[in-house]
């Protein structure tokens, strides 16, 4: 395998859940890759399919009756096609996962050490005492003070940050090549968030693993991600290096995300602009570009044509799924980044304003 070959390549992944109300298209044909030793940030609102996509990587949606199609190539093996048994040998071993709420993610009745020992022994044929030594070592590695004593604590005796450290320790038990972290800092205090992110970066440097970090928080992306994929309604609408996502984003949804977060260097009087409307139903998503009902720049034909993820001109690693011309997008962003409103930016560029959102839920009127 050549060194340029990505560690994980997801190709046209679709995940659907049949429900009583209809089929939920949780993940609607996404393609992305993760390179060794690098961090991919997947960003999007709740319900954009980012969690389902990563759970599917580990086959954790199988039990929920999900229909999965597409390919998930990990070191050349297609995880979608693997048997449960083969996949189990990869879970927690080559690919490990850290979840959002560390308290509910740890078993309340078992000591932290026992849960770490279990993770080690799930994949290595080592004695209980050796696994325990490893557990102490892991707790030390993630910065838990006095690990040889704390190893016998129960999860409820840990603080929130320590629990997430313990979760990370558990994920690292078998030195995975890929760590998937699903909103690892969302349930934590801000200061603890920063510690956990710093820990993950340090561990990545020391262990050389690739990380996929799933978040709704662009601040987290700015902190740790090398590459970014922006998800909306089960699709990836933009991928680029983290630098480019902040300096030259090209998708109106990404603009919306960037405009809705406060930063210290923007003047206080400049208002934060929330993205209007709500995420669409994944049972009956809007036609054409899924974002068009909420997009201030949508043109009439955007509700008909489905955009593809295409390279941005002159930026081969920057892909955007937007029906606006690249040149128009760049002119719009140039206006927005200096603080103009979407309406002003449109006027400057010479495009008509999209009709106001009539159905804020984006459920019904979208198709009309």
């Amino acid at each position: 395998m050549s060194p340029e070959e990505p560690l994980l390549r997801v190709e046209d992944l679709r995940v659907e859940f049949p429900t009583e109300d209809g089929i939920v298209h949780a993940v609607d044909g996404i393609t992305y890759q993760v390179h060794r030793g690098r961090t991919l940030g997947i960003v999007g609102e709740s319900g954009s399919g980012k969690t389902v996509a990563s759970m599917t990587t580990l086959g954790l949606t199988r039990g929920q009756g999900a229909h999965v199609s597409g390919r998930i190539l990990f070191e050349g093996r297609d995880l979608v096609a693997l048997s449960d048994r083969e996949l189990r040998a990869i879970r927690g071993n080559d690919i490990a996962m850290v979840f959002q709420d560390p308290l509910s993610s740890l078993h309340p009745f078992y000591r932290v050490g026992a849960q770490l020992v279990e993770a080690v022994r799930a994949h290595r044929d080592v004695s209980r005492s050796m696994a325990r030594e490893r557990a102490v070592e892991l707790l030390g590695l993630v910065g838990i003070p006095d690990p040889s004593r704390r190893v016998d604590d129960y999860p409820h005796e840990f603080s929130g940050g320590m629990r997430q450290r313990a979760m990370i320790a558990m994920a690292l038990a078998n030195e995975p090549k890929l760590l998937i972290a699903d909103e690892p800092t969302t349930a934590l205090d801000v200061t603890v968030q920063a510690q956990i992110l710093a820990l993950m970066e340090r561990l990545q440097r020391e262990l050389g693993m690739a990380i996929v970090i799933i978040t709704h928080d662009l601040g987290v992306i700015a902190e740790v991600a090398d590459d970014v994929a922006v998800m909306y309604a089960g699709r990836i609408v933009e991928t680029a290096s983290a630098e480019l996502i902040f300096s030259g984003p090209e998708h109106p949804y990404t603009w919306g995300l960037l405009k809705s977060i406060p930063t210290l260097d923007t003047p206080r009087e400049r208002e934060l602009v929330p993205i209007p409307g709500t995420p669409p139903s994944l049972i009956n998503p809007p036609s054409g570009c899924h974002f068009h009902p909420r997009c201030p720049y949508a043109q009439p034909d955007h509700s008909i044509i489905d955009p593809f993820l295409e390279p941005a001109p002159g930026e081969p690693d920057h892909h955007v799924a937007c029906l606006l011309a690249a040149e128009v997008r760049r002119r719009l962003w140039a206006q927005l980044r200096v603080g103009r409103t979407p309406a002003a930016a449109l006027a400057e560029v010479g495009l008509p304003l999209a009709p106001p959102i009539s159905d804020p839920s984006g459920l019904g009127g979208a198709r009309a």
Binding site: G92, A96, S104, H107, P108, H123, Y154, H156, M170
Partner: protein, 320 residues
């Protein structure tokens, strides 16, 4: 923890005293037959009855009777003597205990294992045909009264009156120490009857509990570790789901030790419930008091055990 246990034990004793007092009040106030007259049997002349009354201390003021009763009970553990057979109530109860304990504990083993097995399998495939079938069957078993089910089984399988004579019928109980094999075979049908309804309830309980637990985040974590599904279900799922069931189990056993009267009557097993039932029909106050007190004791002890067990089963529970 030790202080907690001591406090719980003291509360238990207080509760027993209250129950004893209530029992005394109920049996003296509620209209029943005159024990002295009952004891006199065919010698129903006033002189004999008065003599018996004096003998039993029934002519003393109520408050004195109460004092004597409580003093005997709590200082000498003396439950008095049966009006009917003159035997000591304590010995009557101790004679009957092994049969009841055999019946209840054996039944509990059957209903716990069968109930849990069915419930766990159902929980893992909710709304499957298997799940619907076993939960429907559970509903039937829960609804079947023990005396009815007992008679049906006797009619079907009892050695004396059955259609297929494979199990000993009613009144075949022998003590474990007398003949272990006969003890076992004679209890098979009673165990099944006692277990049937409870197994159904336990199957439904564990099913509901486990379905909820299997949706927890820590189950997802266990799967993400790469554990086998069996291990995920048993070590992570059932371990959590079983806690509330163990609590109920202890209470059920405590209650049944005093009140397995239906099964004991249908199968004519000489147990506590049967003793209580007979004593009631004979207005045999001391025996009724004794059996009710023993039942209360079992329930109180079961409650204390549950509370203590909880601290061990769930490390988040801490008693100060």
């Amino acid at each position: 923890m030790t202080r907690y246990i001591i406090r719980r034990l003291l509360w238990g004793v207080l509760l027993l005293i209250i129950v004893s007092a209530l029992l005394f009040v109920f049996f003296r106030i509620l209209p029943t037959g005159d024990p002295a007259a009952l004891r006199a049997g065919r010698l129903q002349n006033p002189k004999v009855i008065a003599a018996i009354r004096a003998d039993l201390g029934l002519n003393k003021p109520l408050i004195t009777q109460f004092w004597i009763y409580m003093k005997n009970l709590f200082l000498h553990f003396d439950l008095g003597y049966s009006y009917y057979s003159s035997a000591s109530v304590k010995s009557l109860i101790f004679d009957r205990l092994p049969a009841t304990i055999s019946l209840v504990l054996g039944g509990a083993v059957i209903w716990v294992f069968s109930g849990l097995a069915v419930g766990i399998v159902s929980a893992l495939r909710p709304r499957s045909r298997l799940d619907r079938g076993s939960m429907g069957g559970a509903l039937v078993l829960v609804s079947a009264p023990e005396y009815w089910l007992g008679l049906i089984l006797l009619y079907a399988f009892a050695a004396d009156i059955g259609q297929i004579r494979i199990f000993p019928g009613a009144n075949s109980y022998v003590g474990l120490t007398t003949d272990p094999v006969k003890w076992f075979t004679s209890l098979i049908l009673p165990w099944l009857v006692l277990a049937a309804g409870n197994a159904a309830i336990y199957a439904r309980l564990i099913r509901g509990s486990l379905i909820e637990v299997m949706g927890q985040d820590y189950i997802r974590t266990a799967r993400a570790k790469g554990l086998s599904e069996t291990r995920v279900v048993l070590r992570h799922g059932v371990r959590s789901a079983i806690n509330p069931i163990l609590t109920i189990l202890a209470l059920d056993i405590g209650v049944l030790l005093g009140s397995a009267v239906l099964v004991e009557t249908v199968f004519d097993i000489p147990g506590i419930g049967r003793l209580n039932y007979d004593a009631i029909t004979h207005a045999d106050f001391p025996v009724v008091q004794g059996t009710v007190l023993v039942s209360a004791l079992f329930i109180i002890v079961a409650n204390i055990l549950v509370d203590i067990a909880y601290a061990y089963l769930d490390p988040r529970v801490r008693y100060s």
